[in-house]
């Protein structure tokens, strides 16, 4: 907490921790790479990004190449319909990643999130959640622009301005009360509004459910986050660590009950998460596509 507040006094930087229904919370690659990148400046950062993109490409190629990770396509028409509905070509691999993530989560993030909920009172948790959300607002803004939705982009922009000033650096969601409630957007959804299909479902270790498209969108979001372009310093570094750790714990804590319930009630929790994730992503993309509100805000008319 104190580290976090101390970091805030300095012009800060943070990565957009996209809050998604990932379940596992999102562990940021930056977390491990930060000390190196800050030591030798931006070129390392660029290299890291290139490396990250390279990993993604390599990952895609490996996925395409390795047949033992690919679920066999059923011949029975009913089973085939089910297979297509699940959209899970890499099910054997995904299940391995899921099982690994659940085991690791059980002994790491879940107890931490539980302790956080137990120790930190609701108003404080809410403020920290607001802060995480506000710091990600630029990413939402750029994606709204990318999706060609000026009204949504305007909302995100106004939210950012109001919350950073009147909301004391994002700790209070003042914009919500001023008639600008939060809306989600990310690279995967922007690509979806461009008509790009989701591609097969993926379960990314410790990051949760995704698809090929959403994985690429996640990479794009890192590039869209202005925090990645702010000059580095010790205060920034401190803030960044605190912010990332905060974001991960906050996201995990938000889904404590949902995930416990899925683990308890579902016969096949993996399939339940897969189904719910894909339906919700589709609904989110449709909501953006069907948002035809006028560009100017209501009070202007």
């Amino acid at each position: 907490m104190f580290v976090l507040l101390a970091g805030l006094a300095v012009p800060e930087r943070a990565d957009g921790v996209t809050e998604r229904l990932t379940g596992m919370g999102s562990v940021k690659e930056d977390l491990h790479l930060e000390p190196f990148s800050s030591a030798s400046g931006r070129s390392v950062k660029t290299r890291i990004r290139a490396f990250r993109n390279g990993t993604l490409m390599l990952g895609t190629l490996v996925l395409a190449g390795c047949s033992s990770w690919v679920a066999p396509k059923p011949t029975d028409p009913d089973a085939l319909a089910e297979y297509k509905e699940a959209n899970d070509k890499y099910e054997p691999l995904n299940r391995k990643m899921y099982n690994l993530s659940v085991t690791v989560d059980k002994y790491s993030m879940r107890p931490v999130a539980k302790a956080y909920v137990w120790a930190v009172p609701v108003p404080v948790r809410k403020s920290l959640g607001n802060m995480v959300q506000t710091m990600n607002e630029p990413v939402v803004f750029f994606n709204d622009v990318g999706a060609g939705k000026p009204r949504r982009a305007g909302d995100a922009f106004v939210r950012w301005c109001i919350n950073m000033v009147a909301g004391v650096g994002g700790f209070i969601d003042v914009a919500k009360y001023a008639g600008y409630p939060h809306h989600d957007n990310d690279g995967g959804l922007t690509l979806a509004t461009w008509g790009i299909a989701s591609g097969p479902y993926l379960f990314l270790p410790m990051m949760g459910p995704s698809t090929i498209r959403d994985g690429i969108g996640y990479g794009l979001d890192q590039g869209l986050s202005p925090w990645n372009y702010v000059p580095r310093g010790y205060g920034l570094l401190t803030f960044n660590w605190a912010y990332n750790i905060m974001g991960v714990i906050n996201t995990r804590a938000n889904h404590l009950d949902d995930l416990d319930q899925v683990q308890r009630d579902a016969l096949d929790p993996y399939a339940t998460i897969r189904s719910a994730y894909q339906q919700q992503r589709k609904a989110m993309a449709d909501a953006i596509k069907n948002d035809h509100r006028a560009t100017v805000p209501d009070w202007y008319n």
Partner: protein
Amino acid sequence: MKISFTRRFLLGTLVAAGLASGVARPASAEQSATAFVHSLGDRLVTIVNSNLSGAQKKEKVLPILQSDVDVDAIGRFCLGRYWRTATPEQQAEYLNLFRQVLVNTITDKLGDYRGVSFTIGGATPKGEDQSVDTILHRPQQADANLEWIVSTSSGSPKVVDVLAEGASLRLTQRQDYASFIQQHGGQVSAILSALKLQVERHKTAKPG
């Protein structure tokens, strides 16, 4: 001449009648679906927010679930293609178990929703059913978007599905069951024993 006139007249009348009913029906269906969800929501919220004990709340909710939710239709939907391969005895046993599991899941959640309220939006036709939008306001938590799918195919309006933030609960459940059955050699008996286990576990976890 006369025949063609009659035919044209008949056709015209049919089209006009079709149009009229097409215009008139959705409006009234939408209204009745909205009114139905409104009354169902009000009754549920009253029980949830009351000072009754968990067991008493459960007792009060049960008749509402029986009259306003088409549990059997949801159960059949959730079993998907395996409904056809199941024997009549298996179907009956499955529906019985499904009903218990569903009731347990819903009544377990009643305690979590203390202080809840909702606002109701409009209804839109969804296939043969009506979809009614509601926003759930929970204390200390973000608002949740719930869509109720109301079907009148059984004669009276009944809930056949709920979409939580865009995810259909019955579709998610069907994919859960389908995947489970598939992993157990496509045997319906596998899901029956799994559901039986769930019901048993619930009984031992919370006696009474």
